[in-house]
């Protein structure tokens, strides 16, 4: 399946900004099942963009601008060709052994309730890790409601779980916290999701998790949709949690209040595929 993505992030500042620096994890890498046909990241204004790579192998750009800026815009446009691999990720860049992804982070630290929930999912009598992960995915998807209202970017897994509500980021954090509590390496994936209901304009990118299954390698689990990633999931960056894989992170000097506007279009491009 061929997917076209146009993602514009624009900041408007009350007062001119003196300096901005941002790390953009907005460029996907190819792996089996994901081929990048075209991809470009552009900034407007006098900002400088230098490409690089982080420790986990994510492609990143460091955006830096100095002077007096009233606004700043980052535009991402790309087309990718996706194949359904049933969630199994092969041929991706792996810089570390999988056990690195057992590390807990502040955002994914479980509390007692979450631990109990994970243990309950694990006690359903299966010794097969893949089946266990699917139980867990199902349980989280059933237990928690997708709701953009109550949580924000810094909500932890335990907080979101107590509310039983959250966005894809929160559901993914809950999944990661549960996996790591059970001793299964798991990591956060940020990316784009082509919706099945024909809605093209979206409010935000998507997030899901990958857990390590010895016989298969890394396998994706999308807790917000209750499925393993399909050819509608464009995988962009991985991290221990949201902060490690966040599309945009940055700091600035001056500028007063900022207004952020995001425009994101994800649509299927015309393409005949060969059987």
């Amino acid at each position: 399946m061929r997917i076209r993505i146009a993602h514009v992030t624009a900041y408007h500042y009350d007062r001119p900004v003196k300096a901005v620096i941002q790390t953009l994890r907005l460029t996907p890498r190819a792996h089996d099942g994901q081929h990048i046909l075209a991809w470009r990241v552009e900034v407007d204004g006098a900002a400088r963009l230098s490409p690089g790579e982080d420790a986990l192998g994510n492609r990143l750009h460091v955006l830096s601008a100095e002077g007096t800026l009233d606004s700043l815009g980052v535009r991402v446009e790309g087309e990718v060709e996706m194949l359904d691999t049933h969630g199994v990720v092969r041929g991706a860049v792996e810089r570390f052994p999988e056990t690195v992804f057992l590390r807990e982070t502040p955002l994914t630290a479980p509390d007692e309730a979450l631990c109990a929930f994970a243990d309950a999912a694990a006690s359903r009598g299966t010794r097969d890790r893949l089946a266990l992960l699917h139980h867990l995915l199902e349980a989280i998807h059933r237990e928690m409601t997708f709701d953009t209202e109550p949580t924000h970017a810094a909500t932890t897994a335990a907080e979101a779980f107590a509310l039983r509500r959250g966005v894809c980021q929160d559901l993914t954090h809950v999944f990661l916290a549960a996996c790591r509590h059970l001793g299964i390496p798991a990591r956060y994936v940020s990316g784009y999701f082509l919706r099945g209901d024909g809605v093209v304009v979206q409010e935000a990118g998507h997030a899901w998790a990958e857990a390590y299954v010895p016989a298969l390698g890394w396998v994706g689990f999308d807790a917000a949709n209750g499925i393993s990633p399909t050819d509608a999931h464009v995988r962009v960056a991985i991290g221990l949690d949201y902060l490690g894989a966040a599309p945009v992170r940055g700091a600035r000097t001056g500028g007063g209040a900022e207004a952020l506007s995001v425009s994101l279009r994800i649509e299927q491009a015309a393409w005949q595929t060969q059987a």
């Binding site: 190819a30 792996h31 089996d32 081929h35 060709e81 393409w271 595929t273 060969q274």
Partner: protein
């Protein structure tokens, strides 16, 4: 476009690239053997020239041992070696003639003139100097062909298949040189940096005409892991494996775009490129240079077969 046409264009480009590569091996080996014997060369450079060319089995069936005369005869002129320079040029010309109308006048003349001129060279009577001139001439033929295709062809599927042939052969050739010489590139425990090693490394660079490029990129003395980096991962180096695969992926994408469908070739090429761009040199050395190169040669052959199945077979 008929698959037959695509097939002939692909193989014309491949054979000319191979002729160029053989000329480079012979040239570099002649240089290496001109070094004084006191450098204590282990092994025989002519044997490694045969191994790099990938036709060792055919060679030892015909000759007892590898020396300047047998190897030169076999790789440059032998009618029984399907990959000798002479055979490469005439097979390339036969392929080109079959699709004469798909080529531009300049391309056809470059290859037909070469074929006519080939008869002028008398293999038996050739001394070292004349042989060196012959090798220069072979390199000039591929330059003329590739240059004229670049300057005169329409950018359509005919051009793209020509580029695929060149890039896949080039990747194979670079990988073969690395495979034969990988032991001199390994971080060894003894005698690293001796004069012998230095000449071996510069020979590898000369074989792919990358000696000057090396100094531009790294600006330091020749070091084995940097030689490997240049020829495997460096995107700026047109003969590096990564660069060849960028060319393959780009032109396969253009073909898929024009024909409105993607297939196995695009997937195989994209997977290999993703692996090359995601790899760092320390990972290659850690998991074994030889294993990495052998794996690459197998993948590259698989891509050749896949392209043939998808596009070149009627």
């Amino acid at each position: 476009m008929l698959s037959r046409t695509a097939d002939h264009l692909f193989w014309t480009a491949r054979y000319l690239e191979r002729a160029d590569f053989l000329a480079r091996i012979l040239d570099a080996t002649t240089r290496l053997t001109a070094l004084p014997a006191s450098y204590g060369r282990p092994g025989n450079e002519w044997e490694s020239a045969v191994a790099s060319s990938g036709c060792a089995a055919g060679f030892y069936a015909l000759y007892d041992g590898a020396n300047e005369y047998t190897v030169r005869d076999f790789l440059a002129f032998s009618p029984t070696n399907p990959s000798s320079i002479r055979n490469c040029l005439s097979v390339a010309r036969n392929n080109a003639r079959a699709v004469r109308t798909a080529l531009t006048i300049e391309m056809w003349e470059a290859i037909n003139d070469a074929w006519l001129e080939l008869r002028r060279f008398d293999a038996k009577a050739m001394d070292r100097e004349e042989f060196a001139r012959f090798l220069e001439w072979v390199k000039a033929v591929s330059l003329a062909f590739e240059g004229s295709s670049h300057r005169t062809m329409l950018r359509n599927d005919a051009y793209w298949f020509t580029r695929l042939g060149t890039a896949i052969e080039r990747a194979d050739n670079t990988a073969r040189i690395l495979d034969v010489k990988y032991h001199v590139l390994l971080p060894a425990t003894e005698q690293v940096g001796g004069s012998l090693d230095y000449f071996q490394w510069t020979t590898i660079l000369r074989e792919v005409s990358a000696l000057t490029a090396y100094h531009w990129v790294y600006r330091e003395s020749v070091k084995p892991w940097l030689v490997a980096d240049l020829l495997i991962l460096n995107r700026q180096m047109p003969r590096s494996l990564t660069s060849c695969y960028e060319t393959l992926v780009r032109h396969l994408d253009l073909i898929a775009e024009a024909y409105g469908m993607r297939g196995a070739s695009q997937r195989v090429a994209s997977t290999t490129l993703a692996r090359l761009t995601g790899t760092r040199m320390e990972d290659v050395f850690q998991s074994g240079l030889h294993e990495f190169i052998s794996g690459f040669i197998a993948d590259n052959n698989r891509l050749g077969v896949t392209i043939a199945e998808q596009y070149l077979m009627p």
